[in-house]
């Protein structure tokens, strides 16, 4: 079956390219006996559907939504090619109508990266162990970043905040340790 990218057809063992079956099946590599299991979906045949005469010339990308139109940009979230009609400038990125439609429901769907402030907080506390002398600065920073982690949206897939709470607790512990140490030194000096 045509239309399957060469990267999928290449044997991971010997690099030989295998023939793609017409239906879902495992295909053995004739050179090394390795096996490639293919799962083919209807979207593949849609891509191979014969196009109208007004299709852009070979070598030109077509709009995902209007096959007769030449692509002028790519959606920066899903990568679909867009013609001038379909490109929507959403702030600085260019998006397709489908992505803008889904973005209305929840902004999470436009997120491509997230900073893990909770891990930064924990990492700072971990750093304060080898750099004990600087921990009077690092521990409060761990607390502050832990609070930021509670306020900012965290990971898309792991929504629990226990890391942030742990970072705050450990940072507070380190800060209190320094307060106690300074108070002890001052009181000892007085006596």
């Amino acid at each position: 079956m045509a239309g399957v990218n060469e990267a999928l057809r290449r044997c991971a063992e010997c690099g030989n390219t295998v023939e793609v079956p017409e239906a879902n099946a495992a295909v053995p590599c004739y050179d090394c006996g390795g096996e490639i299991r293919f799962l083919l979906f209807p979207a593949l045949t849609r891509a191979r559907r014969p196009a109208a005469a007004a299709m852009p010339a070979v070598g030109e990308a077509a709009c995902y939504f209007h096959e007769q139109s030449v692509a002028a940009a790519a959606c920066e979230r899903c990568g679909r090619f867009l013609c001038g009609l379909c490109r929507i400038e959403w702030g600085s990125p260019v998006l397709c109508p489908a992505c803008v439609g889904t973005a209305e429901k929840t902004t999470d769907l436009l997120t491509s990266t997230r900073t893990r402030y909770d891990n930064i907080s924990l990492g700072l506390f971990a750093l304060s162990i080898p750099m004990f002398v600087l921990s009077f600065l690092i521990s409060p920073a761990a607390v502050a970043i832990g609070i930021v982690a509670l306020r900012k949206p965290g990971s898309l897939v792991r929504r629990r905040k226990w890391r942030a709470w742990l970072g705050i607790a450990l940072g507070l512990l380190g800060s209190l340790g320094w307060v106690w140490l300074i108070a002890y030194a001052v009181l000892k000096g007085k006596s």
């Binding site: 290449r10 991971a12 063992e13 979906f41 979207a43 852009p56 990266t113 900073t115």
Partner: protein, 337 residues
């Protein structure tokens, strides 16, 4: 506490700095690459997925990892044989157990996903068992999402001439009108699109450049201090190394490593590791270690190590080399963009 709308699929892939996982969403697959301080997401909508391939990979051959492990075991065995100290036996057993564990969990397949616009690897599906389980979970969801595409097929076939009146000429054979125009390679424009303006925004490299600049300064100062009568206070170099390491860490935190080529990653890592290593064995810290060492043999060894000018010069050259290499590979990438 908000619950996640995603269900984690079997399989994960650990690398030195990253972890890849695959999550099942309502209408898409979410491929998550986690650095320690950031996460990046890639979505594959069920409607767009054209094909998935799982390529089995043999695990019989010896890789660079295996050869490294063999070399390490040989070295440790030799050390154990000559020193007869039980500590080396413990180290040998620990290394062997770690190697066996990593070997057993090594990837034995490569998984790919193809959509209308891209072909990407799914690093988390690196074990055949996990890939099979994940495929079983997502196959039905993709087919459900593409059900309307299946129903489009009869529509294409129904583009036939209208039925002829009964009094007209005899009807043509059924196969005749179904003959489609000669197949046009319609995928070609989609599969190999020309680069579009603005599709790939150039990534900033400021933290990398700063790290390389600091590594260059550190190497130059070190070389000057060992080769000439350049007056260098003992505390001057470690802060430079630390700053270079922090710049490297900043590049890592701000995800400037995300789309780097292999060579660029190697250059960044080399700069970071060489700065850190040289900082650890710098004159200042070695003198501290000598003062704190209680064992006289250890003191003598450290003393020799600290006073070795050849080693110091080599360290300076390595630092300069790493910095120049880094500048070169990053400049090349900038030109391409």
């Amino acid at each position: 506490m908000p619950s996640t709308p995603y269900q984690r699929l079997p399989g994960r892939r650990w690398r030195v700095f990253t972890k890849d996982t695959l999550w099942l969403g309502e209408d898409h697959l979410l491929s998550v690459r986690s650095w320690y301080f950031t996460e990046s997401y890639r979505r594959f909508y069920f409607r767009d997925i054209q094909a998935i391939a799982v390529q089995a990979m043999g695990t019989r051959g010896l890789t660079a990892f295996d050869w490294t492990a063999i070399g390490l075991v040989a070295l440790l065995s030799g050390t154990l044989f000559y020193t007869r100290r039980p500590v080396w036996a413990v180290v040998l057993i620990l290394c062997g157990a770690t190697y066996a564990l990593l070997r057993a969990r090594r990837a034995n397949c490569v998984s790919w996903i193809q959509t209308a616009v891209s072909t990407e690897r799914l690093p988390s599906l690196g074990r055949l068992g996990n890939a099979r389980k994940a495929m079983a979970l997502i196959e039905s969801k993709i087919l459900d999402a593409q059900a309307d595409i299946v129903s489009e097929a009869p529509e294409e076939a129904s583009v036939l001439p209208p039925p002829l009146p009964a009094a007209g000429p005899p009807p043509l054979p059924v196969a005749e009108p179904l003959q489609m125009p000669p197949p046009v390679p319609a995928l070609t424009p989609v599969a190999t699109p020309p680069p579009l303006p603005g599709a790939a925004a150039p990534q900033k490299t400021i933290w990398h450049q700063l790290a390389f600049a600091l590594t260059l300064v550190a190497g130059g100062v070190k070389l000057a201090a060992t080769s000439t009568a350049f007056p260098l206070p003992g505390w001057a170099l470690p802060p430079i190394y630390l700053a270079a390491a922090l710049m490297g860490a900043a590049a890592f935190i701000f995800r400037q490593n995300a789309a780097r080529t292999g060579m660029q990653k190697w250059a960044s890592s080399a700069s970071l590791v060489s700065s850190g290593t040289v900082a650890m064995f710098s004159e200042h810290y070695m003198q501290l270690a000598i003062r704190q060492a209680t064992d006289k043999d250890a003191q003598r060894v450290l003393d020799r190590f600290a006073g070795n000018m050849v080693l110091e010069r080599v360290a300076g050259i390595v630092l300069i080399g790493c910095a120049i290499w880094g500048f070169a590979v990053f400049r090349g990438e900038g030109d391409k963009r």
